[in-house]
Symmetry: C2
Subunit: 119 residues, 2 copies
Amino acid sequence: MTSINLQSKFDMVHDHWKPRIIAELNGQQVKLSKVKGVFVWHDHANEDELFFIIKGTLFMEFRSHTIEVKEGEMILVPKGVEHRPVAREEVWMLLFEPASTKHTGDVQSSLTVDQFEKI
Amino acid sequence: MTSINLQSKFDMVHDHWKPRIIAELNGQQVKLSKVKGVFVWHDHANEDELFFIIKGTLFMEFRSHTIEVKEGEMILVPKGVEHRPVAREEVWMLLFEPASTKHTGDVQSSLTVDQFEKI
């Protein structure tokens, strides 16, 4: 067992929208990602998804409204709810979700990551 | 859906070693706690437990060694591994673990919380 230093992990990431796994427990994964720009609309039929913003401000778009999620804030997106993350400036975030969670749900996009790297 | 502001949640906590639930997803819970002093030795037979340090330094004691977990760091304690969190100064931390996780495992202590409050 060792501690996991977030800054060191983020320092290893030089791209956007490619989550990396930093911890696995109880069938769940903790991932981190740097994001910038507009992601794709998608949902996860069977998985709730938690976003925790470490740096910057994420705009989580839903079909009816948008929620601004600032540094030090989380948002829980329940299963089956369509969402589209948007980052006007670079955002660093953590994701907590089941290992079964597909990156873009049943939507296939040029941004879709099929296999998540562990760092 | 709304964002969850960690600072606001921590501002509601005026005690030590009493985790509160701030989010539930996929049978898991995100809890936060302020801690100071020495907790009790315990393990969780069936649940891995993730600690994420938001403020301060946690000393996670194991039977054979201690790991220092600083602000911005996480530590994953696998199921069945005895551990004792120690905080020389106040520590603010997040916990990510299954909803089934008992606070002090099968150990009963004056610090044990049987029912976690949601805030």
